[in-house]
């Protein structure tokens, strides 16, 4: 009974409510969502564990400073709509961020309950509310102000900015290169982690707000910024094209058939539904022994997709050790539970072709951890002479991305030497007073919540500037 004489006493005895997961042995063979989310009962029980700290550290850990104890309190009181309204003040995408944020290094990583016990399951609670969007108050819509804004890219950053601007009375058009909206949320992150219906709901919500979507529109090759701001009559642009070109390993054999970049491997399945070939026309390779290089979320999504495509053996090769992997902890644990083998401290040297010309093995260099590098993580260094060969019929490299080449083609704003857009962190302003930018094309590959936050900040600043309320 957490409330005693009107004073809140958290349930300190209860252990953290475990995730509501499908059994690993079953789920690893299809694309069903792995985590079913909390039931109402589970959510309320978990909410009782929160101490409602006066100086909540969890809020500091959240990149957009959601008022976490406040929404958790509403869950405990069964006032789910009000809880959702509290989240919406900071984040428009709780159903998504609740699922994909690296909570253990953000909100939950700071939660005080994590010191002696386990942190409150903030992500699960946020998702619990986010999955009931119908309970939220109808957003207040400002009257139409007659100004037109173009948003380039429909990833989390673009759609957040578009939604905020539409609510502020702007006439918003989102230009998206693909035939559908969502960016990485649809072509990168798999269905078993983030159901596409969740993303579609967000996009449909924007359409209801009057946001127009122009799909199949590769801006820069179609209109550039000059044309959008000139002939096309837009008053401002928000550029959120996301990250681009996959980084190369630059080793021999990298271009052999059946050596993939994770983006291609994931896009074939997530966007083009290659798992349903030949009902869908796009094929992919169903390797029997799949090797993936990397240690981030992209690598985890690749290994788990390979399992679901029927691989007998999936090996994740990482230069450092599991402890240094940048992926969300939950994904690493899920991958292991599903049967992925983790091969630590190896770095690829060469892909080797088999008789059929496709990859049949990869030669790797064994590594050991040396001195910490600039990021504070211990740098992997090669162990001389220690080279091994791992057989495989599909190899996937998931070692990151470079800047999206279309930023330059959209033009009209300053880029840094790597091709990323130079934009103010607080406002999203670029060197061009009519162009704002945010998300991965500014920060480099980062997180959904940061991309979302950048879209929100930029929308606020654009509103101020475009409606003449600037300083």
């Amino acid at each position: 009974m957490p409330e005693v004489n009107g004073r809140w006493i958290a349930d300190m005895k209860a252990p953290r409510t475990p995730d509501n997961e499908e059994p690993a042995a079953e789920r690893a063979h299809d694309f069903r969502p792995v985590d079913k989310g909390f039931t109402e009962e589970m959510a309320v029980a978990e909410a009782a564990r929160c101490m409602r700290c006066k100086k909540p550290l969890c809020v500091q850990g959240c990149p957009v400073n959601i008022n976490i104890p406040a929404f958790i309190e509403k869950i405990y009181e069964h006032k789910f709509g009000e809880g959702l309204d509290i989240i919406h003040e900071q984040s428009m995408l709780p159903a998504i961020c609740g699922r994909v944020c690296p909570q253990e290094t953000q909100c939950e990583g700071k939660c005080i309950r994590g010191v002696k016990s386990q942190p409150v399951a903030i992500g699960q609670l946020e998702r619990f509310l986010g999955d009931q969007p119908e309970l939220a108050s109808k957003p207040k819509l400002a009257p139409k102000n007659g100004k037109k804004v173009a948003v380039i890219g429909s990833g989390p950053s673009g759609i957040t900015c578009a939604g905020e601007l539409a609510r502020n009375g702007f006439d918003v058009t989102v230009f998206e290169a693909f035939f559908t909206g969502g960016g990485v949320l649809v072509y990168g992150i798999p269905e078993f982690r983030l159901p596409k219906t969740v993303v579609k709901r967000e996009i449909d919500g924007l359409k209801e707000l009057g946001v127009k979507f122009q799909f199949n529109s590769v801006m820069g090759n179609l209109a550039n910024s000059e044309e959008l701001l000139g002939e096309k009559g837009f008053d401002a642009i928000y550029v959120a094209t996301g990250a681009g070109l996959p980084k190369l390993l630059n080793i021999p054999g990298e271009n052999l058939p059946n050596v993939f970049f994770a983006n291609e491997y994931l896009t074939r399945v997530n966007l083009m539904k290659a798992n349903k070939f030949p009902q869908y026309d796009t094929p992919t390779k169903h390797g029997k022994h799949v090797v993936v290089f990397g240690g981030g979320n992209v690598a985890m999504d690749s290994v788990r997709t390979a399992l679901r495509l029927g691989a007998d053996e999936v090996t994740l090769c990482y230069r450092r050790t599991e402890a240094e992997m940048p992926a969300r902890r939950a994904e690493v644990l899920h991958a292991k539970a599903e049967g992925v083998k983790i091969h630590e401290l190896v770095s690829p040297l060469e892909f080797i072709a088999g008789e059929d010309g496709a990859v049949c093995a990869v030669k790797v260099q064994d590594m050991k951890l040396g001195e910490p590098d600039a990021s504070g993580r211990r740098r992997p260094v090669p162990i001389e002479g220690a080279v091994e060969e791992i057989p495989c019929d599909v190899a996937i490299s998931a070692i990151g991305t470079n800047a999206n080449p279309f930023a330059k083609k959209i033009g009209g704003m300053e880029l840094n030497k790597w091709g990323y857009i130079v934009a103010d962190e607080e406002t999203g302003r670029t060197s061009n007073p009519k162009i704002w930018a945010g998300g991965d094309i500014v920060t480099g590959a980062a997180t959904v919540i940061l991309a979302m936050g950048a879209g929100k900040k930029a929308a606020a600043d654009m509103t101020k500037v475009l409606l003449g309320k600037d300083e």
Binding site: L245, E254, N255, F260, F261, M272, Y280, P405
Partner: protein
């Protein structure tokens, strides 16, 4: 949805679509391509612009039936709609090279070569065209090339000798190079044709570019499927190309990657044909 305004059949397996796409038409350049997704379950496949008209708001592409998607597309008629059309993609062909050009097109590559030749003529270049096909019936766009270029600037070869000169495109190319009649070569077609054209041009020290056609998925430089090796470096054909210095291309690599899905492609076509076979209905 993108409406097919006109459908033209050039030969048993070669068709041209004129599709309504006003924004694309305004921004298209010779050498660029678009990507088609025929329907909700379709694959994304690239086709080069054959022509476009900004005033009338359409683009054209020519395709040869080689597999499931192209087979399915060939059944579309004027008035039907294509689910998705994305473009323009890729870099326009660089036509800054001075002097006379030789434009080589092999097979369906002629559809890609024609707009390049036309643009070169429009920008005041002297152009020779070498048109290659396996047999007479597969020779595309002859009329169009003839109305563009003088008679003695058109060189036709067929593998079986059914039309023009018997043999492959490198024979007329060699003659042109020997006579110093051309300063730049552009080629597009099957890999062996491009490879041997390249070796021929290189022998004479004449620059040659090839328009490459690796398998693509997004066409916007995101996935890396279209990578090709050029001069020992990995390039992304959809954003860095599709045109590259032919003498630097690793042709074996391109061929291997193009063939990576042969089995699956056969499967897809077979399933489609079985489902659509007249005798089954």
């Amino acid at each position: 949805m993108y409406k097919i305004l006109e459908k033209t059949q050039f030969s048993e397996k070669v068709f041209e679509f004129r599709v309504e796409a006003p924004e694309m038409a305004k921004h298209a350049h010779a050498g660029q391509f678009l990507m088609v997704r025929a329907n909700e379950t379709g694959e994304r496949v690239p086709f080069t612009f054959a022509d476009w008209n900004a005033e009338e708001g359409w683009v054209e592409f020519i395709f040869m039936v080689v597999g499931k998607t192209t087979e399915m597309l060939s059944k579309y008629e004027a008035g039907d709609e294509i689910e998705d059309l994305t473009g323009p993609l890729g870099q326009p062909t660089d036509m800054s090279g001075k002097g006379a050009w030789c434009v080589i097109g092999g097979g369906v590559g002629l559809a890609i070569a024609y707009p390049v030749a036309r643009q070169l003529v429009a920008t005041g270049h002297e152009v020779h065209a070498i048109m290659g096909a396996r047999t007479k019936d597969l020779l595309l766009l002859e009329e169009q090339f003839r109305s563009l270029l003088p008679e003695d600037h058109i060189h036709i070869t067929t593998d079986d000798g059914s039309y023009g000169e018997k043999g492959v495109v490198t024979a007329p190319l060699e003659r042109l190079l020997q006579a110093k009649a051309v300063d730049q070569v552009f080629c597009v077609g099957p890999v062996p044709m491009m490879k041997f054209s390249s070796l021929t041009a290189e022998k004479y020290g004449t620059p040659i570019t090839a328009s490459l056609n690796p398998i693509m998925v997004d066409g916007t430089g995101m996935c890396g499927c279209c990578r090709v090796e050029v001069g020992g470096e990995t390039k992304f054909a959809c954003v860095d190309g599709p045109d590259f210095d032919a003498t630097k291309v690793d042709w074996n690599d391109l061929r291997a990657r193009q063939a990576a899905y042969r089995t699956e492609e056969g499967q897809a076509l077979k399933a489609y044909e079985e489902a659509n076979c007249a005798c089954q209905r």
